[in-house]
């Protein structure tokens, strides 16, 4: 799951809800994984959120949270350490 999560974040910044759907696992699992990955310095939350808009989001077709009625998810992206580690894993 860790590798799949890092790979999902390789191309773009994603929210927890989207990651959960992409990886087909529960939101709790994604949150726990992100929590530890952040502790390890592999990922970090972006200073923006889903409520910033869906215009540039490549997975908007997968997203059901477009009404803004859901909690604002932090959007996560890889850090340099995360990118280096992903290359090593690949």
């Amino acid at each position: 799951m860790t590798q799949a999560l890092l790979q999902a974040l390789a191309g773009e910044s994603l929210a927890v809800g989207t990651l959960s759907r992409l990886l087909q696992c529960s939101r709790g699992q994604v949150e726990l994984a992100l929590y530890h990955l952040r502790r390890g310095g592999y990922v970090t939350p972006s200073p923006q959120s889903c409520s910033s808009g869906c215009g540039g989001c490549s997975v908007r077709s997968l997203c059901s949270q477009t009404s803004g009625s859901q909690p604002q998810d932090d959007i996560w992206h890889l850090t340099d350490k995360g990118r280096i580690r992903l290359r090593a894993l690949d």
Binding site: C25, Q29, S49, Q70, Q72
Partner: protein, 674 residues
């Protein structure tokens, strides 16, 4: 027997202890209610239990202050039994910590709390299966209602060591064995990451380098634990189909990006009006009680000095303390309801974006909102923020929040100078305090070093209709604690002020108190404040804002002749006053739900002070006075809390900063409104 509760934040650890021990640990529906190690002692079937409630955490290896406290306690003072509390509705996130705890090798009981909420979301957990997999007793509970408490007690006395272990990849398993370190959790942690308080030996450092050649040990450990969590969760829970939950329906309104903010403001206005409308009849009734007691004292025919001391010193002081009980109790009641229902946590989400502009996490708003009740516990609650820089910046903003002690002054001046506009003036003062607090937090960003980034996991608890018993108890405990801390201080201050009024004797204008106050009036003249009695009330206001009205009463009304009241007449007045208070409370109900109306119920006693105040200054000067009072300095208890948490330098700096801001804001208010 020593027992420790460990679990993720906001899973009901404190509620469980309260259900088992009948204790009064603070309970809230937001992450981080317990920010320190709390202990309770009670008897269980003849066994003395020392129960430690540890702060919520997702891992034992984390770096936040809560995580450090939990790790330190478990490693350095291992309990006889660990009670791991899980949110039954979110097993995947909770079981990660369970597996870490299992590696400590301590006897353990797993509590599946919030089982009712899990079922309402269609989540069915097979406790027997989970128990079989973990090798420890698993008990289902709804701690807030005491359900399952008896089973937890039984399980405690027969707690077993877990048999489950995370399956690590061979290269890591070998290294763990080779290290010879116990418990397993410590060995795994030492091999995979740097953790404060755990020293890595050179031999282990070499071992770590060796396994680093094979794979990143941190990721390997994480992957192994996540896989084990997944396996445990899949084997012990089933997700059934359910429709849109009530929480989701309510959230579609409360968290709406546009409607959410006006709804929040409306909610806060509702809280203020609730406090204001329902406390007023009982404050008036306390005045009736004071009048009757004064009359009874007068009937004893004591010497004038002693009568003055008892009536204007002791009784006025006690009256000032008592007058806060209704306001505080109702405000704490409203706040306890907001906390326990989950509404307060929503504000963190709602304002997360806005707070990001100030480089603060959304949950900073929780200490700020608590500051509206009392600044002192709000300062301590900044511990819920993981970053030290965020904690300092939020703590510096908190004293700008208008605490409930300031509310009574706002209410009195509002009624005297602003009539029907009073509630809006009070609301404006609250918003001004909030705004200036946030500006202070923003300004401090330039000289408070910011750590790398902020916490990632934001929790949104489901709505829970709070138990009225718990909410009432919470409000009562907070009111009692506040009064207990402040009563002596307030009573003493009022007596000292009374004494200063008596020295050297004669008219109050010649007293020592008047001379000091006159000197302090000079810098406040640009704010339109010319009356030394108004300035004088600010002096004891530094000790406690609660004293301001009592001091104004003594300064303006001085020694009033007290009418003698007979025993029967006094009892009759008390009975009639109580009936009137009940009637006014009932009348406040439709008013609370209706169109805002600011007409204040008046009473004979305080109308004298109101009339005297009306002559003391103009409405613009009164507004400037309120702004100055809102901002000029936190009370000594708040300053002490800041000094304790962050050091004296910050406390002194804050007082100086607030004085400057108060003067400028007060002056601007006067100039604009004049």
């Amino acid at each position: 027997m020593r027992v420790a509760t460990v679990g993720n934040p906001n899973v009901g650890k404190s509620s469980l202890i309260n259900a088992l021990a009948g204790s009064d640990l603070q309970v809230g529906n937001w992450p981080g209610t317990t920010v320190d190690r709390l202990a309770v002692r009670f008897e269980l079937d003849g066994t003395s239990i020392d129960w430690v409630d540890l702060p919520g955490t997702y891992t034992l290896a984390g770096a936040t202050s809560e995580e450090r406290i939990t790790r330190h306690e478990l490693l350095n003072h291992p309990p006889d039994v660990v009670v791991n509390v899980l949110d039954a509705g979110n097993l995947e996130r909770n079981l990660g910590l369970t597996l870490e705890l299992a590696e400590l090798g301590l006897p353990m009981v797993v509590v599946l709390n919030l089982i009712d909420e899990a079922r309402s979301h269609g989540i069915v957990v097979d406790a027997a299966k989970l128990s079989e997999r973990l090798g420890v007793d698993v008990v289902e509970t709804v701690a807030s209602r005491g359900q399952g408490a008896e089973q937890v007690k039984k399980a405690l006395l027969q707690a077993r060591k877990p048999t489950t272990q995370t399956t690590y990849p061979p290269f890591l398993a070998e290294a763990i064995d080779k290290s010879g370190i116990t418990p397993t959790w410590k060995a795994v942690t030492m091999l995979s990451e740097e953790v404060e308080g755990i020293v890595v030996t050179p031999a282990l450092e070499q071992l770590r380098r060796d396994i680093g050649q094979v794979q990143d040990p941190f990721l390997a450990v994480m992957e192994a634990r996540l896989s084990s969590v997944q396996s445990l969760a899949h084997s012990s829970q089933v997700q059934e189909e359910v429709g849109k939950t009530l929480t989701q329906k309510i959230d579609s309104w409360v968290l709406h990006p546009i409607l959410g903010f006006p709804l929040f403001l409306l909610g806060m206005l509702g809280v203020f009006r609730f406090t204001y409308l329902f406390s007023d009849p009982w404050i008036n009734y306390l005045d009736v009680i004071k009048g009757v007691l004064s009359g009874w004292i007068a009937s004893w025919h004591l010497t004038p000095w002693l009568q003055s001391f008892l009536v204007s010193g002791v009784l006025d002081g006690a009256g000032t303390v008592a007058a806060f009980s209704p306001v505080l109790f109702l405000l704490y009641l409203a706040m306890a309801f907001l906390e326990a229902s989950g509404l307060l946590a929503r504000t963190a989400f709602l304002f997360d974006r806005g707070m990001k502009a100030l480089a603060l996490p959304g949950r900073s708003l929780i200490p700020l909102l608590l500051g509206f009740g009392c600044n002192v516990p709000a300062i301590y609650s900044t511990r819920i923020l993981p970053q030290a820089s965020d904690r300092i910046r939020v703590a510096l903003a908190i004293p700008f929040m208008a605490c409930s002690a300031r509310l009574t002054v706002f209410v009195l001046f509002g009624a005297v100078f602003f009539g029907k506009q009073a509630p809006y003036v009070v609301l404006a003062l609250y918003l001004l305090g909030l705004l200036l607090g946030l500006v202070t937090a923003w300004l401090t960003l330039s000289f408070v070093p910011k750590e790398s980034d902020r916490t990632g996991v934001m929790e949104l608890p489901p709505y829970r209709f709070p138990s009225w018993q718990a909410v009432l108890r919470q409000a009562w405990l907070r009111t009692r604690a506040f009064l207990k801390n402040a009563a002596g201080l307030i009573l003493g201050s009022v007596i000292v002020i009374w004494f200063l009024h008596q020295v050297p004797g004669g008219p109050v204008e010649n007293s020592l108190y008047a001379r000091v106050s006159q000197a302090l009036t000079v810098p406040l003249r640009p704010l339109g404040i010319e009356d030394w009695r108004l300035t004088g009330a600010l002096i004891p206001g530094f000790i406690a804002k609660e004293v301001v009205i009592g001091t104004l009463g003594v300064s303006f009304l001085g020694e009033e002749p007290v009418a003698v009241v007979g025993a029967a007449e006094g009892l009759k007045q008390l009975g009639v006053g109580f009936g009137q208070a009940l009637k006014d409370t009932a009348l406040a109900v439709p008013q609370w739900f209706g169109v805002p109306s600011a007409e204040l119920p008046t009473d004979e006693t305080s109308s004298d002070l109101r009339a005297a105040l009306a002559k003391a200054c103009s409405a613009p000067a009164a507004a400037a006075y309120l702004v100055f009072l809102l901002l000029y300095t936190p009370c000594v208890a708040t300053v002490a809390a800041i000094a304790q948490e962050f050091g004296r330098r910050w406390a002194v700096g804050l007082v100086i900063w607030e004085m400057a801001v108060a003067w400028v804001a007060g002056w601007l208010t006067y100039v604009i409104l004049r």
